[in-house]
Subunit: 280 residues, 2 copies
């Protein structure tokens, strides 16, 4: 178990928003995450909702712009907010691209050089990070749900679909629903996982549902004015495979909303309330 260095502690909505750095055994570099502990955590362990962020984000975007902490405080939920990739001087990157390398881990375990040394985000968010935070904070062991935005919405969906029983509930904001057929996904999967498109399907929500993933209800919001909806997100593909299998999907097309945190802020309260029910 790696040690934690607390690098920030801020009072918010009666609880504490904290940021930590630790040496990740999975990603083989220092990793940073934020955690919000609601007031109820001072009385005893609480459930946790994991938030996976989108391209270009760190752990800071969500905690600053989503307004989630006040709902977490009301509902008695911890928020666990990892970074979107390994980072640092020794970590491969493509500085001229926002959609590959640092800030774009895509929540997969890379198998290809030079990425495979550090880009092990799937194992990091599903195994190392939960074990770490459950050992160090007042969280109910194993009692967790997951959500996220865009690339992180994709991440939330695959984490839940690939780990039956590990998450009590899952939701997503504007997720990349079918990454193996969109530019963002092709770019990252091609780099991290080789050109073997069959290997990509293990990290694709639409393909996982089509291949028989165990049912778990999926709550998904998309904005109808999201600039990335036509070319990157493909909710219609996920919807089609769910319909074919009678897989439980609640897909809400929210009229007029875009891809920004203003969209997330508008519905994060509903999502957290949804998770709170599943976590009680």
């Amino acid at each position: 178990m790696s040690s934690l260095e607390r690098i920030e502690r801020i009072r918010e909505s009666g609880g504490w928003l904290e940021r930590y750095r630790h040496d990740s055994a999975t990603c083989r570099c220092p990793m940073t995450f934020s955690i919000y502990l609601p007031p109820q955590a001072e009385q005893g362990p609480v459930p946790a909702v994991y938030w996976l962020s989108g391209l270009t984000c760190t752990d800071d975007n969500f905690r600053t712009k989503a307004g989630a902490q006040r709902y977490a405080a009301e509902l008695g939920l911890a928020l666990v907010i990892p970074d979107t990739s390994p980072r640092g001087e020794g970590v491969p990157d493509v500085p001229e691209r926002y959609d590959l390398g640092q800030g774009a881990g895509f929540y997969v375990n890379a198998t290809q050089a030079p990425w495979s040394e550090h880009y092990q985000m799937y194992d990091y968010v599903t195994r190392e990070l939960p074990a770490l935070v459950e050992a160090h904070f007042p969280l109910v062991p194993g009692l967790k749900s997951i959500t996220g935005h865009s690339m992180g919405g994709h991440g939330a969906l695959i984490c839940a679909l690939k780990n039956p029983g590990a998450y009590r509930s899952v939701s997503a904001f504007a997720p990349i629903c079918h990454p193996t057929v969109c530019g963002w996904g092709e770019g990252c999967f091609g780099a991290y996982l080789s050109g073997d498109r069959e290997a990509w399907k293990a990290y694709d929500a639409t393909e996982l549902v089509a291949a028989g993933a165990a049912p778990i209800p999926l709550l998904i919001d998309h904005g109808t004015d999201d600039e990335f909806l036509p070319d990157q997100l493909y909710p219609q593909d996920l919807e089609a495979v769910c319909r074919a299998r009678d897989f439980p999907l609640t897909l809400r097309m929210q009229a007029g909303y875009d891809h920004s945190y203003h969209f997330i802020a508008s519905f994060i309260g509903e999502h957290l309330a949804y998770h709170a029910v599943a976590l009680k």
Copy 2:
């Protein structure tokens, strides 16, 4: 009446977050502001709460980080969010200082060169901007309240204290309560208003109350762990003059909170609910 150019429109919490640019007659340069129109504004005119931001901010910080829009949507309030100073190539600035010039208008009417040409923020926020937005948006004319943070908390207090009856209510987050005796205030007032300290008192909440300002209840929150509390904010000075006059002040020292937007996000709902009562 200057014309408005809409430069952004984002759906949020059932309403619209919009940003405009206009040629300001008061500041003699283009000015930018944001406005949030709640869903109720589609049915008819709504009251407005003005938000004045702090040093270094533009209109973007509050709308992105405070989480106010969801409360405004629930309460049926518009939010009017001006910039903190005139800006642009022709506008004087001290680029190496965050606390003077652009981003630091201090909500006063400058009388000294080179500032007086454009730095007329007091008239801008109390006269030009309300007239402009009431002419162009579904707002109830004259039905407004005001709040803000730090330098903007100072601004909210002086706008209300200097204009009896103009604002139904006023509140402030970590306001600079006695600017004529703190470094931030001395720096700006000395530049904008000359070295005549008597002239400064017209823009100082503590001095205005001491000099007999008409009573209006003041709701003020400070964080006890605010790094600027000891040297810049001086709520104890405002409290002393209010006590001496029996001037209505609710001063809440919020344990453990700092000067950040996480503090604002924690209490903005209470403040907007307070204003909503006054505006009904």
